[in-house]
C-alpha cells in the first residue's frame, strides 16, 4: 500500500462523495424547510436513471437525457408535494409514512416500465477515457462527477446566499413560523425545495447510472447513504451536506478497501454516534 493506493482511494472517495452530494443536498434542504424525512428520495434517484435510459434508447443522446430526466422527476416531486403531502399540513410522521407509500408505488412502476433487469448508462466516449496525472490514472468520468457536483454546489450556494429567494429559504429553515409571520410564502418555498430535491436526486441517478448501474433495489440502497450525508452534515445546511458527502464518500471507500468485513458498520456507527451526541448533525443549526 504505497502513496499511489492512498491517492487513488482518496480520489475515488471524493468522486463518490460528489455523487452523494447531489442526493444528500436535496434531502437536507427538504428536511430543513419541511422537517420531514423524504423516504422517496432514493426513488427519485432510481427513476432519474430509468428516465435517462429511456431518453437514450429513444434519441441516442446522453447529453439530452440528463436535463429531461432531472426535469421530469422534479415535476413528479412537485406534484407529490402539492397533491399529497400538502393536505396533511404540519404532521411530519404522516408525511414521512406517505413518502414510503410512494416509494413502494414507484418501485412497482419502475419494475413494470423498465423490467427487473439491471442496466448501465453509457456516457459518451470522451468521458470514458482516463488521464494520467503524476503517474496516477484518473478516469475522466469521475472527474466529470466532481465537476458537476462543484458546479451545482456553487450555484446553490450563490442562490442561497446572494438572492432574495435564498434568504427566504434560509429564513424558512431557521424558523418557518416566523418566516410566515414576516410575509414569506413558506408553502411555495416547501414546494420549490421539494422539486429542487427531486431534480438533484434524479440528476444524481443519471450521473451515477454509469457508475453504480440502474437496477431494482438501488432506491433503498442509496437512501441510507443519503441519510448519512444529511446527518453528518446537519439537516438543512448546504455546506454541511458538502462536508457530509465527502466524509461518507471517503469513509465508504476506505471502509470497503481496508475493512471489508465491517465496511458498512464503519459508516453507520459514526452516523448513529453523531446523532446521539448532536441530534441536529455536526453542522446543523439548533
Amino acid at each position: 500500500m504505497g502513496a499511489q493506493f492512498w491517492l487513488i482511494q482518496i480520489f475515488n472517495g471524493i468522486s463518490y462523495g460528489a455523487l452523494l452530494f447531489l442526493v444528500g443536498s436535496g434531502l437536507s434542504l427538504i428536511f430543513g424547510v419541511m422537517r420531514i424525512v423524504n423516504l422517496a428520495h432514493g426513488s427519485y434517484f432510481l427513476l432519474g436513471g430509468y428516465v435517462a435510459l429511456s431518453v437514450i434508447w429513444a434519441t441516442g443522446s446522453w447529453v439530452l437525457s440528463i436535463p429531461v430526466a432531472a426535469v421530469s422527476i422534479a415535476i413528479l416531486g412537485l406534484a407529490m408535494e402539492r397533491v399529497f403531502l400538502r393536505p396533511l399540513g404540519f404532521d411530519p410522521l404522516r408525511q414521512v409514512l406517505l413518502t414510503v407509500g410512494f416509494a413502494f408505488l414507484f418501485q412497482q412502476a419502475a419494475l413494470d416500465i423498465w423490467s427487473g433487469n439491471p442496466f448501465d448508462i453509457d456516457p459518451p466516449d470522451e468521458l470514458t477515457r482516463s488521464i494520467v496525472v503524476g503517474g496516477l490514472h484518473l478516469p475522466m468520468y469521475r472527474i466529470f462527477m466532481i465537476g458537476v457536483a462543484l458546479a451545482i454546489g456553487l450555484t446553490l450556494w450563490l442562490v442561497m446566499e446572494k438572492t432574495r429567494l435564498g434568504a427566504a429559504i434560509r429564513a424558512t429553515v431557521d424558523d418557518a413560523q416566523m418566516a410566515r409571520g414576516v410575509g414569506i410564502n413558506t408553502s411555495l418555498i416547501s414546494t420549490l425545495i421539494f422539486g429542487l430535491g427531486a431534480f438533484l436526486a434524479a440528476l444524481g441517478g443519471v450521473i451515477g447510472g454509469a457508475f453504480l448501474g440502474v437496477y431494482p433495489g438501488l432506491d433503498f440502497e442509496i437512501l441510507p447513504l443519503a441519510f448519512a450525508v444529511v446527518i453528518i452534515g446537519g439537516m438543512g445546511s448546504l455546506g454541511g451536506a458538502a462536508i457530509g458527502a465527502l466524509v461518507v464518500g471517503l469513509a465508504d471507500n476506505f471502509g470497503k478497501a481496508l475493512f471489508p468485513e465491517v465496511a458498512y458498520f464503519t459508516l453507520y456507527a459514526p452516523m448513529a454516534l453523531i446523532l446521539a451526541v448532536r441530534p441536529t448533525g455536526l453542522f446543523g443549526r439548533e
Binding site: 410522521l93 414510503v100 407509500g101 413502494f104 418501485q107 433503498f220 448513529a272 446523532l275
Partner: protein, 342 residues
C-alpha cells in the same frame, strides 16, 4: 378509546384469534404457512406499536432485533446444533435476552433524540446491524444468508409439520399479545401514553420519562428477538433481507395501517400486507400498486388505521373529522420536535 368498552374489544380480538386457530389448520398448506409467517412477524409489529402507538417513538430500525433473534437461532442450530430439541426454549430465552441487550445499548444512544431525529438514529443503528450481516460473511453468510434445514422437535412433537408449527407460533404470538396487552394497560403503560401525549407534563409530575421510554425500548427489543426466532424457523432461512431497512419500514407501516396505539391493529395490518404480498402476488403482477395505494389511502384518509373503522361508522356523519384525531395523529404530534418549539 373512550368510545368503546375495553371488554368488548378484548372479546372481539379473542374471537378473531379463536377463529384463526380453528379455521387455518383446515385450509391448505400455503395458507397455513402464510398465516404462520404473518403471526411470527406480528410479534415484531406489536413491539413497534409499543413504541410508536403507546410511547410516541417512531422507530425505523426494529428489524435489527428480529435479525439478532433470527441469526442467533440459525447460527446456534447450524454450528452447534443447539435449539432443535428441548433446548429450543433456551434459544428463545437467549434470543430475547440478546436482542434486549442490544436494545439496551442502542437505547442509550437513541433515547437522546426525539421525533424525526429518533427515527433517523434508529435507522442508522438498524443499518449498522444490516451492514454487519451483509459484510461479515464468515458469521452470517452475507448475501446468501444461513439455511436452517430443520425445525425444532421437543415434548415428543415434531414441529417440522406445517400445522404443528403453526400452533407453536400461534401460541407464542397469543402469549406475546397477552403480555404486551397487559403491559399497556398497567400503570407503566398508562405512563407511556402520558409521555406520548405530553412528555413535559409527565416530567413535572415527577415521572422519570427517560427511564420509562428506555424500558419500553428494551422490552420492544426483546419481543423483536422472539419474533426473529419464529421467523427464521418459519422461513428456513435468514438473510440480509430480514434486517434490511425495508423490513423495519414494513413493520412501521403495518402498525399505521392497522392503527397505532391499538396493539392488535398492527396484527391486522400485518395480515393485510402478507395477504397482498404473498397471496395476491401469485394472482396478479400489479400487487405492489395495491399495497402502495392501501398505504397512501389509509395515511391520507384513515389516520386511525383499520381499527378506527368501527368507531368511524358509529360516529357516522355527525363528526367525520373527529376520528382523525386517532392514535397516529396524537403519536405524531407528540413526536414532532417543532411542536414543542412552535
Amino acid at each position: 378509546m373512550s368510545m368503546t368498552r375495553p371488554q368488548g374489544k378484548v372479546l372481539a380480538v379473542a374471537a378473531v384469534l379463536v377463529g384463526i386457530a380453528l379455521i387455518v389448520p383446515h385450509t391448505n398448506s400455503f395458507v397455513i404457512l402464510l398465516t404462520t409467517r404473518a403471526l411470527a412477524f406480528s410479534i415484531l409489529v406489536m413491539s413497534v406499536d409499543l413504541l410508536l402507538g403507546f410511547t410516541g417513538l417512531a422507530s425505523m430500525g426494529q428489524a435489527a432485533y428480529l435479525g439478532i433473534g433470527a441469526y442467533l437461532t440459525a447460527i446456534l442450530a447450524t454450528r452447534y446444533h443447539i435449539g432443535l430439541g428441548d433446548d429450543f426454549w433456551l434459544v428463545v430465552a437467549l434470543a430475547m435476552l440478546g436482542s434486549a441487550a442490544l436494545a439496551a445499548f442502542f437505547g442509550l444512544l437513541a433515547m437522546r433524540a426525539s421525533g424525526v431525529y429518533f427515527l433517523m438514529i434508529t435507522l442508522a443503528l438498524g443499518q449498522c446491524v444490516w451492514g454487519l450481516a451483509y459484510r461479515w460473511n464468515s458469521l452470517t453468510g452475507g448475501d446468501n444468508g444461513i439455511n436452517l434445514s430443520q425445525r425444532p422437535r421437543f415434548f415428543g412433537i415434531d414441529f417440522s409439520h406445517g400445522v404443528t408449527f403453526f400452533y407453536l407460533v400461534f401460541a407464542l404470538f397469543a402469549i406475546s399479545l397477552l403480555l404486551m396487552g397487559t403491559l399497556v394497560r398497567s400503570p407503566f403503560g398508562r405512563s407511556l401514553v402520558g409521555i406520548r401525549e405530553r412528555e413535559l407534563r409527565m416530567k413535572i409530575l415527577g415521572y422519570n420519562t427517560w427511564l420509562h421510554k428506555y424500558i419500553a425500548f428494551v422490552i420492544a427489543g426483546a419481543f423483536g428477538g422472539l419474533s426473529g426466532v419464529l421467523w427464521v424457523h418459519t422461513a428456513g432461512i435468514v438473510s440480509t433481507d430480514d434486517v434490511v431497512l425495508t423490513t423495519s419500514v414494513d413493520a412501521l407501516l403495518m402498525v399505521v395501517l392497522g392503527g397505532a396505539g391499538t396493539l392488535f391493529g398492527g396484527v391486522l395490518g400485518a395480515g393485510v400486507v402478507f395477504f397482498v404480498r404473498e397471496y395476491l402476488s401469485t394472482l396478479v403482477h400489479w400487487w405492489q400498486y395495491v399495497l402502495g395505494a392501501i398505504y397512501v389511502l389509509v395515511i391520507l384518509y384513515l389516520p386511525g388505521g383499520l381499527m378506527s373503522i368501527p368507531q368511524r361508522l358509529r360516529q357516522g356523519r355527525a363528526a367525520p373529522r373527529a376520528a382523525a384525531a386517532g392514535a397516529l395523529a396524537t403519536a405524531s404530534t407528540a413526536s414532532s420536535p417543532a411542536r414543542g418549539a412552535g
